[in-house]
Symmetry: C2
Subunit: 156 residues, 2 copies
DNA sequence: TATTTTTTAGAATTAAATTTGGTAATTAAA
DNA sequence: TTTAATTACCAAATTTAATTCTAAAAAATA
């Protein structure tokens, strides 16, 4: 199986990132092929892992998640398995939807969703600050999000 | 139209966030209704905006996007339309996929995708640092991402 | 309790996905 | 350069799913 993608494949990737539920018929028309080879290309992109999954995007505000933040966390590296301890705890906290290991002053950057400030205080007091290996953390509260592309920047 | 969601609606939201391409038939079996009312509920969730859109998730690494970073930006507020100038520039830079207005030392947090370090240097030198209202910025390079939920944390 | 409204299931219809078989184009080998 | 092999494609047929429709059941209201 050749893993080289041509322009048509990139176009398929773009269209499916834009609309994950586009019908195969429409997709085939957009890319200028008939339905059969279009479907075959999509299946190949799925099988080879270029397309990982499909997801519905929901309106968090409407669902009552009024508070979104990023938290920069610095760890205390006195134990030798500090990072694993931290990651295990993070995985138990459902309000944390993203966890990135980053360079810079902070060790980790977390993304958090909660309903309101009270819930945020509880998260901080009862969960984040109780993780033994956490040294310091700083909240960046998201006031607004002006750009959130569902598409990664590709050449084609 | 009542905007009250019941447990079945929340289950639909969860299942569609997990798998945006689940068939209506399967979805109906999962939630324990027949296909017709299941479809009607999904359409209502779409029409009322609880479901905003559907997207394919691609493998950025495989597509050659080896560098992912967050950039914290501080603006220079000497002009009175500083923020709008900044946002207009950000919208022109395709490598920036997210832009959040945040509290804390930084004014904005950007998420960036590029192919390699050379491309990152070009982004910084030719684009970010040339935005007139940018005072300072700091890169947090993402070394690994250990959690990235496609599902927002809901009660039900 | 009677009436209205809403929600649902099941059947019928429509549309889409998938498979199949054959052809053209490309690539590899002689 | 010719031939063989592979790959990609299209069109049509088939299968499967989505959608619509009708009537019954459940829930809400009077």
């Amino acid at each position: 199986m050749a893993t080289e993608l041509d322009k048509i494949d990139f176009k398929i990737l773009r269209l499916l990132q834009e609309n994950g539920r586009i019908t195969n018929l429409l997709l085939s028309q957009e890319i200028g092929l008939s339905p059969a080879p279009t479907l075959e290309r999509v299946r190949k992109l799925e099988m080879s892992g270029f397309i990982k999954s499909y997801h519905a995007l929901v309106d968090e505000e409407k669902l009552g998640l009024g508070i979104k933040t990023f938290i920069q966390v610095q760890l205390d590296f006195h134990k030798n398995n500090t990072i694993q301890i931290f990651l295990d705890e993070v995985n138990l906290i459902k309000e944390i939807t993203e966890c990135h290991h980053v360079t810079g002053q902070a060790d980790f950057l977390l993304k958090v969703y909660v309903s309101d400030i009270k819930a945020y205080e509880r998260l901080i007091m009862d969960k984040i600050s109780k993780i033994s290996v956490v040294k310091t953390f700083q909240t960046m509260m998201i006031m607004s999000t002006t750009k959130k592309e569902p598409i990664v920047p590709l050449e084609y």
